[in-house]
Symmetry: C2
Subunit: 222 residues, 2 copies
DNA sequence: AATATATCAGGAACTCTGTCTCGATAAAAA
DNA sequence: TTTTTATCGAGACAGAGTTCCTGATATATT
C-alpha cells in the first residue's frame, strides 16, 4: 500500500538522469550502463541502479539499460508524460523568466495563466500567457481544476497568496519566495530557496580561500 | 584544522533563519528562543540550536538569543557581510531575473557584469549592469579577481562556459543549467536544479492524487 | 561447448542527519 | 534567600541514505 516510500534524494536525482538520457537518445545512443551514468553525473553507480530500480526499469547484464526505455520509465514514474495545469502568481522578473521556459511542460507542469496585483501589467500577455488580476484566481482555479500554484511574489506577500491558493483548491505549491509558507496538512510545498544555495556557495568559498591562504602563508610545521 | 566540517543541511537552513531573524529585527524584537524559531520555520528546536551553535552564537537560558547578534553571527559565518564580485553569463530571461535582485548583495554576491554571445543584447544595460561579449570575460575576470560565476545559459553551452570561467580564475560556479558541469578538483559548484524540484513536486502530487482516488473509490475493507 | 567478463540486483555495513533525553543555568517568583 | 521555570547545550539514540560486498546472468571469447 505504501507506494510513496521513495527517498526524496532519489526524486531529486531522477530529473538529472532524465536530462542526461534525453541528450543521449538525441545523439542516437541505444544502451547505457549504470556505471557510465554515474561517472558522467558524479553519482555512485550502485546509487544509480537503486534510483532507476524505483522507476521499474530493468537493466540487462553485460549490455546495460535501454536508453529510450529508461526515459519512458522516468517520465511515467514522475508523471511527466501528461502535464498538469498550473497558475503562476507574481509576474515580476522571476515569474517572467519561468513563463519563458517551454521545458517545464516536459516536466509535468504547464503554466496556463499568470496573476498579479499591479495594474501596469494586468491584461498583458507574457510569452503567450495572460496576466490576470489576483482576485480572479479563486474562481478560475476552481473551474479549471488547477492543482499546482507557482509562487514568485515577494516574501511579504507569500503567506497570503499561499492561503489564497489553498482556499482555491490548489494542492501543490512551488515556492520561490525566501519564506516557507505555513500550510495545512496534505498540501505539498516544494521550496526552491535560492538563498540556501548561496549559503552553501559563500561558506564553501570562504573556507576554500582560508585554506588557500593558510597553505600559502605558512603550512604549519608538523 | 578541519574547520569546514559543517553539515550541508545546516548551511542550507542558515539563510532561512537569517531572513526570519532580519524580519524579526525590523519588527523591533530583541530576543528570540530556539523553540520559537523552530516552530515558525518548521524545524525541530534542537536542530535550530545545533545549527546556530556552528555560527558561534550563544544563547542564554530563560531569555534566548539576541536577535541582532544572531543576524551578525550568521552573516559572518556565511561570509555575507562583505559581498564578493560575480560575473553572470547568459543574460536571457533567468539571467535578467537574477540581475534584478538587489537581495543577493546581502547574501554575499554582487553581480558586477553580465556576458552573452547574442549581438542583440550586447552593449545594453540590464538593471544597471552592462552586458558584454563573452570573449571579454577571461581578461576582465583576471583583472578584477572575480571568483564567482553565475551560469544561466542553455544546457548545451553550460560545459563550455564553465570551462571558460575556470580557465579565467573563477573558483565557484552557481549553476542554473540542468546539466552538471564537469570541473577540476577544488572548483566549487552549486547547482540550483529547478527540475529536481519539479521531480519531487510532480511525484508527490501524483501519489497524493492516487491516494485520494483510492480513498474515495473504495477504502479497502479491514 | 566451456570459459571469461561486464553488468546487474539484492542484502549488509557504515555514515550521516535528525530527534530525544538529560543535566545545567540564568532569570523570575515566592 | 530559596524555589520555580524557561531555555540552553551536550550526549545518546534512531532512522534514513549511501557505499560496499557478494552472487547471478547475459553476452563475448576461446
Amino acid at each position: 500500500m505504501r507506494a510513496e516510500s521513495v527517498p526524496e534524494p532519489t526524486l531529486r536525482r531522477l530529473p538529472s538522469y532524465y536530462h542526461y538520457l534525453v541528450r543521449l537518445r538525441e545523439k542516437g545512443q541505444e544502451m547505457i550502463s549504470a556505471a557510465q551514468i554515474g561517472e558522467d553525473l558524479g553519482v555512485h553507480h550502485t546509487q544509480v541502479r537503486k534510483d532507476l530500480a524505483f522507476t521499474g526499469s530493468q537493466g540487462r547484464p553485460k549490455v546495460g539499460h535501454h536508453v529510450a526505455d529508461l526515459v519512458a520509465s522516468i517520465e511515467t514514474f514522475l508523471n511527466w508524460n501528461n502535464a498538469t495545469d498550473a497558475f503562476l502568481v507574481g509576474a515580476g522578473h522571476l515569474g517572467t523568466a519561468l513563463l519563458g521556459y517551454a521545458g517545464f511542460e516536459r516536466a509535468g507542469v504547464k503554466i496556463v495563466a499568470a496573476f498579479d496585483t499591479r495594474p501596469s501589467i494586468i491584461g498583458k500577455k507574457i510569452r503567450g500567457v495572460s496576466v490576470l488580476p489576483l482576485e480572479k484566481l479563486p474562481d478560475l482555479a476552481r473551474r479549471m481544476h488547477i492543482s499546482i500554484g507557482i509562487l514568485t511574489v515577494p516574501a511579504e506577500a507569500a503567506q497570503d497568496v499561499a492561503d489564497l491558493m489553498i482556499a482555491s483548491g490548489i494542492q501543490a505549491i512551488w515556492n520561490f519566495a525566501p519564506t516557507v509558507p505555513d500550510v495545512p496538512n496534505g498540501v505539498i510545498v516544494e521550496n526552491v530557496a535560492l538563498y540556501s544555495s548561496l549559503g552553501v556557495l559563500s561558506h564553501k568559498l570562504a573556507v576554500h580561500r582560508r585554506a588557500a591562504l593558510a597553505a600559502s602563508s605558512g603550512p604549519k610545521p608538523a
